[in-house]
């Protein structure tokens, strides 16, 4: 052991935290090493200076009354919803519960996003179907367009209008 190692043990010896075997080894080293002996003397002096009971302070007498009144106040206040929330917040400091909570939140957000996406797609399809129905109604209510539709090979009235051989704005009489 070098001198620094010995001094760590000397400090423990001075603080009465050495086991008996180490204490006798420390005493033996102090007899042979003058620099460690000097360290021992300085630190003993420091112990004597700081170990004086005159340096200890008594807590002020009013401190207990402050504590007592605080305890009484806390016991009077009924548990409110904020106390309940504060207790819940305590769960955040339990690591496993924290990870579980974060995972649950992630799954919740992800499933909500998927459902929202699906419902929007359904709504779009309903909207398109309504437009189709409306267009069909318009075509059927118009004699010109309904004629065209009858002659059209496909269901789409606009497509049939484009591909129709007859002019929809031309009257039957004029054609003859």
């Amino acid at each position: 052991m070098n001198c620094e190692g010995w001094r760590i043990e000397i400090a423990a010896f001075l603080d009465r935290s050495s086991d008996p075997r180490m204490s006798s080894r420390v005493r033996g080293h102090l007899e042979t090493c003058s620099s460690c002996l000097e360290f021992y003397r300085e630190q003993s002096e420091l112990n004597a200076l700081l170990g004086s009971s005159e340096l200890e302070a008594d807590p002020p007498e009013h401190l207990w009354y402050r504590i007592e009144s605080q305890i009484a106040q806390r016991q009077e206040v009924p548990a409110s919803r904020w106390t309940f929330l504060a207790n819940l917040w305590g769960f955040w400091y339990v690591p496993r519960l924290r990870y579980a909570l974060v995972t649950c939140l992630f799954l919740l957000v992800a499933s909500w996003s998927l459902l929202e996406l699906k419902s929007r797609r359904d709504a779009d399809q309903v909207f398109l179907a309504r437009i189709d129905a409306y267009e069909l109604k318009v075509v059927e209510g118009n004699p010109f367009l309904s004629d065209i539709r009858k002659s059209a090979p496909v269901d789409n009235p606009f497509l049939s209008m484009n591909t129709a051989t007859s002019n929809p704005f031309e009257s039957k009489g004029s054609r003859q």
Binding site: L46, L50, E54, L63, W64
Partner: protein, 200 residues
């Protein structure tokens, strides 16, 4: 541990306090308020803050005591709460390492023991000056060194007990106390030299 009470007695008092006895909680305050107050005061360096933190510590002890599983661990648990309160305060205020001398001067004479306060003005001046010197030296340490030094040298706690409070290994505690001792010795060497000359 304060000498007036044996570990068995302490265990019984803690158990009764856990069962809701306010009288026994007061007993715990009587036994531990002084060492905890001195511990907190040396860590924080201000009398006013020490009062508030000791109050918070005992309020927390009162509300959490039922959750303490082993009554034999009460002392370490109490010091851990006090230490956490100090660290929280230091974090909140982001206090610099310089000690406020004005705070010390304002509060120091009010809490000295009565027998020190009255008879010997010279002695009073010397211990007041020494307290300033010690507090300045302690505030120059990082909290990691400060708490182990205060517990070992000022509170005379064994290294084994200190490991239970600070939650570090025995080797780490030993090394930190040694380094803190060197720093404090350097910081108060002028005072030590003067007191040596005074003795001669």
């Amino acid at each position: 541990m304060p000498s007036e009470i044996s570990p068995e007695q302490l265990k019984e008092i803690v158990q009764r306090a856990q069962a809701g006895s306010e009288q026994d909680f007061y007993q715990l305050y009587v036994v531990f308020s002084k060492p905890v107050y001195n511990f907190v005061w040396r860590l924080i360096g201000s009398v006013e803050d020490a009062e508030d933190l000791v109050q918070e510590t005992f309020l927390k002890v009162h509300s959490e005591l039922k959750r303490l599983r082993d009554p034999n661990q009460f002392r370490f648990w109490l010091y851990r709460i006090a230490r956490n309160e100090v660290y929280q305060k230091l974090r909140r205020t982001q206090r610099t390492t310089e000690v406020s001398i004005d705070d010390e001067d304002a509060g120091y004479y009010n809490f000295l023991k009565d027998d020190i306060r009255q008879p010997d003005p010279e002695k009073l001046a010397l211990s007041g000056e020494l307290n300033d010197v010690i507090n300045r030296a302690l505030q120059s340490l990082t909290p990691k060194y400060r708490d182990v030094f205060v517990l070992a040298v000022l509170q005379k706690m064994s290294y084994e007990d200190i490991t239970k409070i600070v939650g570090r290994s025995l080797l780490s505690v030993k090394t930190d106390i040694y380094r803190a001792r060197l720093m404090v010795k350097d910081a108060i060497s002028v005072y030590m030299k003067r007191s040596r000359v005074g003795k001669l």
